[in-house]
């Protein structure tokens, strides 16, 4: 029964339409976005921003939906919490997904709540079989309420949780295998972890679950006290672009999204990055 659900989930994610090159929506650039609508293929909205939203925010969401293909991205589902899924949060998420009807939606492979306390941070899971079981159980709960395909995003972490039974590529592959979820590959996170943890990406590249790739995030980071932070506040670095190009060449992808949260530049600069990402998609025959 569970195996059938997993197979169905995999099929739903892989059969989703290709959305192209888009951007993570931020209200600050709403007018510029509409003035350059033809240069943005799709949008990603932060789901949490529309829970219990004002009528104006809902109108904004409906307006975006009327003009762009949209996918939703969650922040606080805490898919790795051993205590299970917060039903109230899940219900809000489900209502939003029903409103948006996205081809897929995404969450971080992490936990943000433990012992009933919201820790306000994307915390890394231990790379253990037990954690995989927890995530699988939680995903099953989620999929009972939300039928749209869920994809999971790899996060950054500055510390490795002790007691790991495997490395991140294996952990992620096993999670996706157990849940049937697709992969939201954040190439900036891949790069950031590799840099901060001295991981040789070339050596591990083929071990990532490319057959489950659905969406990509890319963004610029910042060095702070000798640590590379995934801060989403600067242009995408050449190193991340190089990794992005390699990933696009390696595996088919349904959509790529630029994330920029802080120190927003002129919108034209964001459009240049979106165009750059689209050009690679085209060169590799993934789009257009």
């Amino acid at each position: 029964m569970i195996a059938a659900a997993v197979v169905a989930a995999v099929a739903a994610a892989t059969e989703a339409p290709v959305l192209g090159s888009g951007i993570g929506y931020r209200p600050a650039f709403r007018a510029d976005l509409f003035a350059n609508r033809s240069r943005v293929d799709c949008l990603e909205v932060i789901a949490d921003h529309y829970f219990d939203a004002s009528p104006e925010k809902i109108a904004e969401l409906d307006l975006l939906r009327a003009h762009f293909p949209i996918v939703a991205h969650g922040l606080d589902l805490s898919i790795g919490s051993a205590e299970g899924i917060d039903c109230a949060y899940l219900e809000k998420f489900a209502r939003l997904i029903e409103r948006l009807e996205p081809p897929w939606w995404s969450e971080h492979l992490c936990f943000t709540r433990a012992g009933g306390v919201d820790i306000g941070h994307l915390a890394a899971l231990p790379y253990t079989r037990e954690a995989i079981d927890v995530v699988a159980r939680n995903v099953e709960t989620v999929q009972k309420r939300i039928s749209a395909p869920l994809i999971l995003e790899n996060i950054t972490t500055v510390v490795r949780v002790p007691g790991a039974e495997m490395d991140e590529p294996e952990f992620l592959s096993r999670v996706l295998e157990a849940t049937g979820c697709g992969w939201l590959c954040d190439v900036a996170n891949l790069y950031t972890n590799a840099v901060n943890q001295n991981i040789d990406l070339d050596a591990t590249f083929e071990r990532w679950p490319w057959n489950r790739l659905v969406q990509i995030h890319y963004a610029g980071g910042r060095w702070r006290d000798g640590v590379l932070i995934d801060s989403h506040d600067s242009p995408t670095s050449e190193a991340v672009w190089a990794l992005y190009d390699r990933v696009i060449a390696r595996a088919p992808v349904k959509g790529v999204i630029l994330e920029r949260d802080e120190r927003l530049p002129r919108f034209a600069e964001l459009l240049d990055e979106v165009a750059h990402a689209r050009a690679t998609l085209r060169e590799c025959g993934r789009w257009g």
Binding site: P27, A31, F34, A35, R37, A66, H67
Partner: protein
Amino acid sequence: MQNLSVLDLPGPDFLNLYGVVAILVLAAAWLLIRFADGTDKRPPPPVPQSPDAMEIAFLQGGVNQVIRTICYDLVQRGYAALGKEDRVVPTGKTPGALPALETRVLEMIQARPKAHELFENRAMRKELLKLLEPVRARLAAQDLVKPESVKVWRSRVQIGGALVLVGLAGAKIYVALTTGHTNVSYLIFLCVASVLALFALAYVATRSHASRRGHAYLQAMELAYRPRLDAALLDVGAPSATKAFEGASLFLIGLYGFSALKGTADAAFMRHFKRASGESGGSCGSSCGGACGNSDSGSGCGGCGGGD
């Protein structure tokens, strides 16, 4: 007629009944006018990437909003200025190759008119309407302007409703007078008030230039471009080679109206034209004059001046 039991009701009971009939007539009138505009069965067109200032102004408030928008543009570009006593005056700057609409309004401004005179000049309105015909046709092709069926139903509703209200009151008055009752003044008052309410409702329900689909389109644009308006308002009055609402941003004036300028260096436009609109009742009838006074957002006076 005296055999009609309704007409035989005692005065107070009949007045109660008449009040109910008046409310039903008003409700029916509103519904008929509302459903005469079925353009909202389709979703609005996509928000344009490069909105046309004249198109947006015309849809938002007809010729009056076009005149407001052009006046603002002529002032910000130095061809005209706001003078004393609500006058719009020329600056003497030689116009280059201005579009026909701007040229015509600038010609009007040469006579140093008061702002309301710009709206009242019927000859100019006619000329502007002729120049705006391609714009109107484009909007009409997308079902964005109020359909003719609304005007037809407005007339039907006004005539039919008035006949019911006057007919019922008249019949009762006739019966009352023939039976020796002369205390019909309150019924006459109620009848006149109901008919006036009917005409006012018909006017309010149809005064907007945009169809229901057009309204949805404008609302979508207002929501989409609000951040650009906010940014432009910060630039009003700032020393810069480019004016806040110049070129591609001019449509914001047509879309949001002068009321958006409140609190900026250009707030004078709001006061100038608000007073002017308030005084323009002479040409449009008192109800329109009052509506214009509140219509800097553009929704009110589009119909003012007759079917523009």
